[in-house]
Symmetry: C2
Subunit: 884 residues, 2 copies
């Protein structure tokens, strides 16, 4: 077992591809050293293997030996020794996971200094002040980070020393003061840790390495991984690198540089630089940095050398890189590089730009359109699709990021108040415990929605995403009482301004400034390329329930409607009473009358949707939710009964509500089961749909209708439902010369439907995987109950790698989707397959759906661009893996 | 395609094995004719293939031709022709499905008679009265059964004729009167059907056959198949057989005979006989029948011949047969035979008896013990295990048969009233809408339990089965209002007597007489043999939560506890307040105090159970249900708040109840999720369990403990829960020389756990499939909601073949169980596998579990004997199929 690799180790593959083993930083250091032969201070990487071994069984056997060997090699190469009292070698120790991760131990500099070697450093540099400044920095850094000593014990003596010397900044302290500080620091460490500050460099090194390992499981690091969906199993690498000093003299300096502008994407190097400084000074922002043009004035030759390296890096990585570099007494050293982070706008611009000619004459390079598509992420698109805050405020509380984008408005606590405020010209953020269909009118007029309860598929979240309204849900710290809410001691009253960030889940007080959100031209270019790539392989549809949503979806590139939920049409204020008539009907006649009226209005809805999607397929799902959702609450009526008494109508409503009440409505009398219990219902819906299609055909349009049965569990159930639909189709098309082809299919959303997909396929023209419900039933997770209550704990403790309602659970739910697809196609080779859960808009899930052989994904209109991109990426990724 | 087979057709296999094709009656007629060469009136069978073809696409092409050919063959053999005006051939037409089925068309006799052939019959028999009596019987029978004419139109003229002739019975009517009746009957048919009575024998025959086919889908037949779990796809055969007449003269007669006594099992032929009569007279019970000893007086030779045939039949079928026979003018004809139905007691006695020497000297036969075990069914055992009604009353209403056995008592409507009545010495039937844990004390003292709502796994059903109390649940016709209930117009008041049959679901008014219920000695013999057969192959455990239940289970042959639910221990009136303390605790200290108190009482419960199961494994499931089940109802508290106001304690309870309330508790915060949310809970339970085991070990007992984690969905979740348990085990066994081996496993009850069983097995010593919840989640069927509301409709319409909560759904849930077993064992070859859902006591499900490789099934104590039998039958069935 080999745990440690020098930067110049001869790997079999390019080190930049070995981030799993070497971490991101280590891989790039090795790449720069062994492949690009850039001036990198020598060093070595302790691999993630070692970290994983450490997490499993403590400090790995043999690791000490390997480290000692590498240190010896380093010492030989540098001609100096760690801890040498005459001319000591100093090293830095940095963490380096596969993905850059805040919350982990960052850096210990100047390791190797002790009471003897500090003298040697002073002697060899001829600069006692520099030596003791380095030593006191090392003691405090090591004390804080490795030994866990409170930073204040170092602050206090420093302030004292400065006061005593009348110094404004640390830099004004002389050698003697710094020397004294070192003594004070060591005493402070001893007091806090009951042990003297470690003097042996080997002990220092092992301590620092172990601290990095430990920091992998620190609370902040864990929370970050949960948020960023990074596996807790990866572990981190540790990089040990020879120190170079940008703070030696005026002929030294340090900086960070980007090969292009990471904010705008402009093809112009960009950076921050300081003369006679260490890296932390640049980052800390204590001194005003200079840009690269200014650096040129001080170091014209090195500036050119740096720009040549930038050019080299871009050509090598075929991407924008960010770097850290140091000049030590006139010599340039590259301390690290990586493919740089960028804003959404920059990512799009760079991706498009890089498909053209890049780099210096004679060494030009470009990327393919497919590569360009791979360079853009869902977050990048979100960044240009939705408004964002120009700058961030301090978060008052945090909930689930339910619908992306930034919103600013005055808080109102009821839908009616929200509408009233909106009508007065106010910008509204609607704040509710949870929303229900009765809040729709208030939600519609809001800039943003905030709820204290509910998960990512709660009513508020689903509706907000559907309409592209930013939303934060399940913010449990928000306690609502009447027309105000409080978070801890902070009270927010009706009319107060808040700013919510639906991309991060943060809630801020006051009015934050918004940045503009008009997608740049490159947005359309990239999506055009994505569409070319995925054409004929994976289509993208939208979930839309109204003509307006359908039109929006089409504008955003949807190639059809994958899910038109007919229940939303039942909840409009003018329809709900009719729905209740239907449920309360005591005679067949009354029921038929109510059904006919519902059919009439539903036909109008269908016409609007089919018209908006003219020539594209529209999948209409027949009524799905349990009937009690259309009735008033049993509890409210019972309370009213116990207090004010009930009217005759209310008594009837209570009786019906009690009759239809369910213990577990999610798995109760809904979907096709309703069709069995109320046979006229589905027939009415199909009639309305067919009439709408006929009306449009008369207008010369081309409506394409697919009828979908929800919640099927057996073949015979689907056969029965199919027969109702077919009977209506037969009646409607009787005698037609070219009757329209109406396909009839089913949701696959129960585990049984997936397991028995072969028998169910016999009766289906298509399947649409309803991965929301499939996830609920496969896990036994009622999303309304578990998502805000349990999910955070489950993710933090690593019991789940991902929230399975956001990204499909590959091994469980994903396996069932694949089983359903395979079994379905085993019976009908060309069975059309799609997905219409929330996962239809999630890039990782889309990859799995493509793998499973699905024909299309369907998601909310505002996710369509992301799905188009992700679908193309899935196609490219798959092509890549098949040619390997 | 061949649709029709003569009784003497040479089949490749013994016809008695071909019931799928020929139906039960046809197969046995063919067996008697072609194999046993018994005197059977010739005829032919129209196969079930023809019926299935008819159901699919109407009258099958080619069937008419095949029938005509067979008729010709019959006519040739008999030397007479159908409809011959001189000497007509007459036939009977009977349905004959694979399983005997009431509700289907039974029999049309004398077919072939018409206005001409009746004269021929009169001439050739020299008996005009006989001829016209046969004709009028045929017209009315055919009219009613085939043509659907109301029976009254025939009754009326008959009564008139009798009145006119001053006759008391039909037999006193003369030829002229009968002739006139024929004319009246034909007119009545014409009036009702607008067509003359069919005269052409071919038309008559086709009409009768088609009527049999149609009757397969008659409402009663469908309902019967649902109840008896017979597939709707089988179809029925039709038997056409030459008529013989037991009513020709005093030298003729007819009877039914059993080769042994079907009620007691005594090895003595038994039967009913009538001289000069047709079969329907015996069955109708109009005349007093004679037994076989009396028959011997009239027909000594034929009696001996019949007994010899009985002997032949028993030897051939190696079982008790029932028969119908007719003597026509001194000649014995066998009309049908089949393996006879029997009571539970008879089944047991016969099975045991038949393993000894049977039959006449020189032709003795016996069956093996394995065959004897196969002869006994679950219903047979139920019949001797639970009290039954001696005779049946008219059912007032019908619910679901939730817990078998008959009960008689006075109705009471609250648990408290039930207890009070019981204390006064009354026998009680507790009637509730639904029961809840708060009704336990009333249920305990009841003879029987009746609920208006809830399904087969409702609280009432599960508790009643656990205690062996007869119960009928979900009787939706029962409307409870205060201290009375009504069904339609019938009102039943507190204190009124009712009789309920938990085996059939029937509710009768008044006190029905109970038959004794002490299992006969053969019960124990058969189960002993069953145990020998299944030993080492499929063990049987019980689900029991108390020492008392555990002792009962052991007495009934349980080999351990497969499921000890710890929540029942929390619901006792003295514990519930402590549980609430735990939930309401505002400080860690209060919570710890409540947990300690719970641990103390739970330890006592565990001691009792472990003691009862000394030396046998006891699987203890840690707390499973959502916490709100231990709190008062939110709604009740809110109503109280709106009316009377709440106390401080009640306010706290309301807050907690609201906090823990769930939209879908079945798939909410329960099982191991609770453990994650309240980490101290599981540790406390394990501590109590380990202490109980230690106490028993000190007493020299041998407790065997298995700890089970409920509702696992991921490996990491199980690993975490396992670590809590292991920590307690380590603490408890620290320093022991021979520490007891405590195994730790999990329920597999979510679809995900089954699909991902390989990863979960890594952390499990055993799996127990929780098929109740697995069924709920796989179908998305909340049993509380769908079982009484939807299930009946689904079963009747054939959307489900079986209630999947009674018999495991082979293709869906069963496939997941098999997947879970296979995947689990792919990781751990010797992973112990069991099942503890309700299905653990269902014979058909047990067969699947054995096939899946499970080590044991676990069921309620009173199902243990049935499970032992079914397990042995599964083993035998499997051995049979593997040697085929």
């Amino acid at each position: 077992m080999s745990y440690v690799y020098a930067f110049d180790h001869k790997h079999k593959r390019p080190p930049m591809q070995m981030k799993d083993l070497l971490g991101g930083k280590g891989a790039n250091l090795a790449e720069m050293t062994s492949v690009l032969k850039l001036p990198v201070p020598p060093g070595f990487t302790i691999s993630t293997d070692a970290c994983r071994a450490y997490m499993k069984g403590g400090w790995p056997a043999g690791l000490d030996g390997e480290i000692a060997e590498q240190v010896k090699r380093l010492e030989k190469a540098m001609g100096r020794k760690l801890g040498d009292p005459k001319d000591p070698l100093l090293v830095s120790v940095r963490s380096g996971a596969k993905f850059s991760m805040p919350g982990m131990m960052d850096t210990v500099l100047n390791l190797g200094l002790n009471d003897q070697s500090v003298e040697g450093l002073a002697a060899v540099t001829g600069d006692e002040r520099f030596a003791y400044d380095s030593y006191r920095r090392f003691i405090s850094m090591y004390g804080r980070i490795v030994l866990g000593v409170d930073g204040e014990v170092f602050e206090h003596p420093l302030e004292e020393a400065k006061a005593k010397a009348g110094a404004k900044s640390d830099a004004e302290l002389g050698a003697a003061a710094l020397k004294k500080l070192c003594t004070q620091y060591k005493a402070a460490v001893k007091k806090a840790t009951k042990k003297p500050f470690p003097q042996a460099p080997a002990d220092q090194l092992r301590g620092a390495i172990e601290a990095v390992f430990r920091s992998w499981n620190g609370a902040r690091a864990v929370a970050y991984r949960v948020r960023e969906k990074i596996s807790h199993d990866l572990g981190t690498a540790v990089n040990v690198q020879t120190m170079v000093f940008g703070n030696r003299d005026q002929n030294s300096g340090t900086g960070v540089g980007f090969t292009r502008n990471a904010a705008t994407g402009d093809n112009k190097p960009y950076g921050d630089f300081l003369v006679n400084a260490q890296g932390e000074d640049v980052v800390a922002g204590i001194r005003n940095t200079e840009d690269l043009d200014h650096m040129k004035l001080h170091f014209p030759k090195i500036h050119d050398e740096l720009l040549a390296i930038f050019d080299r890096l871009e050509r090598h990585y075929t991407d924008m890189c960010d770097t850290e570099f140091t000049i030590e007494q006139g010599k340039l050293w590259m301390l690290q590089t990586r493919v740089g982070k960028r804003t959404g706008a920059a990512a799009l611009k760079m991706a498009v730009d890089m498909t053209r000619k890049n780099g210096r004459k004679g060494a030009q390079w470009s990327i393919t359109k497919a590569e360009a598509v791979m360079r853009v992420s869902a977050d990048h698109l979100d960044g240009v699709l939705h408004p964002q805050f120009a700058s961030k405020g301090k978060a008052l509380a945090k909930g689930l990021a339910a619908s992306p984008g930034a919103a600013v408005g005055q808080v109102y606590f009821t839908a009616d108040d929200a509408v009233a405020a909106h009508n007065k010209g106010h910008k509204v953020v609607l704040v509710r415990s949870e929303t229900s269909p009765e809040d729709i009118h208030g939600m519609q007029v809001s800039q943003g929605i905030l709820t204290a309860r509910g998960g990512l598929v709660s009513h508020a979240a689903v509706v907000a995403r559907g309409w592209g309204i930013p939303a934060v849900v399940g913010a449990e710290a928000v306690r609502i009482a009447g027309k105000q809410f409080h978070v801890g001691d902070t009270v927010v009253k009706e009319g107060d301004f808040v700013s919510i960030d639906g991309t991060t889940g943060e809630i801020m007080l006051g009015e934050l400034k918004l940045a503009a959100a008009e997608p740049p031209a490159e947005f359309h270019t990239i999506l055009k390329w994505a569409d070319q790539i995925r054409k004929g392989k994976l289509a993208v549809r939208a979930n839309a329930d109204t003509g307006e949503d359908a039109a929006k979806a089409r504008e955003l590139g949807a190639e059809g409607i994958g899910l038109c939920r007919t229940e939303h049409m039942f909840l409009a204020p003018d329809r709900l009473p009719v729905v209740r008539e239907m449920i309360l009907a005591s005679t067949d006649e009354d029921e038929a009358k109510a059904l006919a009226e519902l059919g009439r209005v539903q036909q109008i809805d269908f016409e609007e949707i089919l018209e908006a999607m003219d020539g594209l397929p529209v999948t209409v799902r027949l009524l799905d939710p349990p009937l009690h959702e259309f009735l008033p609450s049993v509890e409210e009526l019972r309370i009213k009964k116990a207090t004010k008494g009930l009217s005759k109508r209310e008594k009837a409503e209570l009786e019906a509500a009690e009759e239809w009440a369910e213990h577990n409505p999610m798995i109760g009398t809904r979907g096709v089961r309703l069709g069995v219990v109320k046979p006229g219902l589905y027939a009415m819906q199909v009639r309305a749909l067919l009439r709408a299609a006929a009306t449009l055909r008369k207008k010369g349009k081309n409506p394409i209708v697919e009828v979908m049965i929800p919640l099927t569990v057996t073949r015979d159930e689907l056969a029965l439902a199919r027969s109702w639909v077919q009977a209506e189709v037969d009646t409607a098309t009787k005698g037609m010369k070219n009757p329209p082809h109406i396909t009839i299919g089913t949701m696959v959303e129960t585990p049984r439907a997936a397991v028995c997909a072969d028998e169910i396929a016999e009766e289906a023209d298509f399947f649409s995987f309803g991965t929301n419900d499939l996830t609920q039933m496969t896990f036994g997770f009622s999303r309304d109950d578990v998502e805000s209550r349990m999910m955070p704990a489950y993710l933090e403790q690593g019991l789940l790698k991902r929230n399975p309602f956001e990204t499909i659970d590959k091994d469980g739910v994903g396996a069932l989707v694949k089983m359903g697809a395979t079994k379905g196609r085993s019976v009908k080779k060309h069975l059309k397959l799609g997905v219409c859960g929330e996962h239809g808009g999630d890039p990782e899930s889309i990859e799995l759906f493509y793998e499973a052989g699905l024909d299309y994904v369907s998601c909310s209109p505002f996710r369509v661009p992301i799905a188009r991109l992700a679908a193309a990426q899935a196609v490219i990724g798959d092509a890549g893996s098949s040619t390997k």
